[in-house]
Amino acid sequence: MTALFDYLLGLGDDALVAAQRTAEWCARAPQLEEEVALANIALDQLGQARAFLTYAGELEGAGRDEDALAFLRDEHEFRNVQLVELPNGDFATTVAKTLLLSAYQNLLYTRLSRAAEPQLAGIAAKAAKESAFHVSYASVWTVRLGDGTPLSHRRMRDAVEEVWPYTHELFEPWAAPEAGLDPAALRGPWLEVVDRVLGEATLARPRDGWAATGGREGRHTEWFGPLLAEMQYVHRAHVGARW
């Protein structure tokens, strides 16, 4: 039960922090059509976060709902990978983060949709469909930026290089028995997806080197504190208020 609670927090926190970052694009996207698209992705991610966190709270049975878990935990209590904390950077960096995260999430959610634990499987089945679209969106843009102008090629290449060290954490051993899967097993199929997109985008896969780690144990980047401070302060300034 504790392992599953922790696992749900990890799934929920990945989605929540990703949503918070994606939504930072609202009113500043490179084109109106991308305003609509990025907001859709943020809404999907936020919806996934709410489902996982709500379920985590129910399992825990201590009266914590999605908001208590999102707004009243401190930095070290969050279980998300560091990848989702990274600042948005330019559009290429956001596309790279979205591609590398959603390709993983899509594989993970698809596996989890067959988990024996029915509620986890139900949430994952819905999330798998959403993440499939995110992969498609991010792939299309990776290709257009990678195989666009010399400037966009350079920015897309730099973006993938910058984000790459943060992807290893996705495949570290970490799962509840109920999930019935080993994250390391996802890396092969993930690389297949990523290699195909990078190839079409005329980009090389970065070499593996330094790898970020620690998010699942509550060790985060310097960027994470300010993100949480901004997200949580109104809620925390009014103890016990309803919104």
Binding site: E24, V36, R50, G148, S152, V234
Partner: protein, 418 residues
């Protein structure tokens, strides 16, 4: 079509459609009004988007993202309508960025607290709904259809704003205080949204005659005040107007009109946030230029590859494609199948560098409220339409051939199965 045919359509409360002949003044008034409406949608994203990261619950965060997203979508619907009148989105955006075209003045006020997010939605979206419900009957067909869709979505914006405030009204003393203060800040800007009084409005008379507008500024403002008073009571807030009271003789509330000098100052660029809002918008557009150029360059490469495969002159294909995307992505028409068993119907248009992105955008823009199960996108330049000039030659001859319809042959009484 001629001026008399145009006048007859207007007099008969018929719609003017894409490519119909229209007086220059009608076209210009429409473009001005639609552009201002579209600019207001995209500029209006800013004061609310500023609060997405700080929304105090996840449910409210989702609602706010969806609302700001709708505003981008409404901007897109409206720019597409302006394009049917021969305006180009790029030119309209330039006019906005250079300050030659305006947007609604309330956007230049700051959202200082979470309660401002609710007050802005309750009051300014409420005012927009009053305005736009009236505009749904506008004489230009594509604008009227876009407005029907927009109104349906804006009523959610308005309602969620009230809901946000109602929750605050049931909350802590600090929450109730912030509610009262926010409503005080947004009341005047909302009243000013209906524009100058009829006696001072420069465009009202011709817009009314052409049935672009269907009610005057003052009529709509009165309707809005009458709607707000009972809602304010439900929220337990005081509207900041000592003169506000029910007038049984008029059957309306008396109220203090907004300060038009202030309205004119803010419209002229001298409001609290004009400079920042416009600078933010310009920066987003400029910082996005390399992305738009990359997509266009990629589309040109793909077109060249396809041309090479088909052994057409690749240079010519690239030239065409580059021409098309040089300043702006090309226009696509979107068709949605609402559910299995019925045909695809035209939903609107959008801009995209290529078919894959056009499909993505169409999905996000035209089916985000479960409107469809299948999509077609077609480059607008590939569509051929019948000429309105040939309407009679094409369609009138069918009118006297009633014998094509079964109803022309009433069966004798008692005979069944025909």
């Amino acid at each position: 079509m001629s001026i008399s045919a145009f006048d007859a359509l207007i007099a008969g409360d018929q719609k003017i459609e894409y490519k119909d002949w229209m007086p220059d003044g009608y076209r210009e008034s429409l473009i001005r009004q639609i552009a201002q409406h579209a600019h207001s949608e995209i500029m209006g994203m800013q004061p609310e988007a500023a609060w997405i990261s700080r929304a105090p619950s996840l449910a409210r965060k989702a609602v706010l993202i969806a609302k700001v997203q709708d505003e981008a979508g409404h901007g897109l619907y409206l720019y597409a309508v302006a394009e049917t009148l021969g305006a180009r989105r790029e030119d309209l955006l330039d006019a906005l960025h250079e300050g030659r075209q305006k947007y609604l003045s309330f956007i230049n006020y700051p959202t200082l607290t979470w309660a401002d997010v609710g007050a802005l939605a309750w009051l300014t979206d409420g005012a927009a709904v009053v305005n736009q419900v009236s505009l749904c009957r506008t004489s230009y067909g594509p604008y009227a259809r876009a407005l029907v869709r927009i109104c349906r979505e804006e009523s959610f914006h308005h309602r969620q704003g009230f809901d946000l405030l109602y929750t605050l009204s049931q909350g802590t003393p600090a929450q109730r205080r912030s509610l009262q203060e926010a409503v005080e800040r947004w009341w005047q800007p909302a009243l000013a949204m209906f524009g100058p009084p009829d006696s001072l409005s420069t465009h009202s008379a011709s817009s009314m005659a052409w049935r672009i507008k269907r009610a005057t500024n003052d009529e709509l403002r009165q309707r809005f005040v009458d709607l707000c008073v009972p809602q304010a009571e439900a929220l337990g807030v005081r509207l900041p107007d000592p003169a506000l009271r029910w007038n049984p003789e008029r059957g309306h509330h008396d109220f203090t009109p907004p300060d038009y000098d202030e309205l004119m100052r803010v419209v002229a660029g001298h409001g609290p946030r004009n400079k920042q809002r416009l600078a933010h918008r310009r920066r987003a557009h400029e910082e996005g230029a390399w992305v738009r150029e990359a997509a266009a360059a990629h589309a040109a490469k793909e077109a060249a590859k396809q041309a090479a495969a088909r052994e057409i002159d690749a240079q010519e294909a690239i030239a065409q494609e580059v021409d098309a995307v040089e300043e702006e992505w090309p226009l696509w028409e979107v068709f949605v199948r609402p559910r299995r068993g019925v045909g695809h119907t035209h939903a609107g248009s959008l801009r995209a560098p290529d078919a894959a992105l056009a499909l993505h955008s169409a999905r996000d823009l035209y089916t985000r409220r479960e409107e469809g199960v299948s999509l077609w996108v077609v480059p607008s330049r590939s569509m051929t339409s019948s000429d309105p000039e040939h309407k009679d030659a094409y369609f009138a001859p069918a009118a006297d051939k009633q014998y094509r319809h079964a109803s022309f042959f009433p069966p004798p009484e008692g005979v069944e199965g025909l």
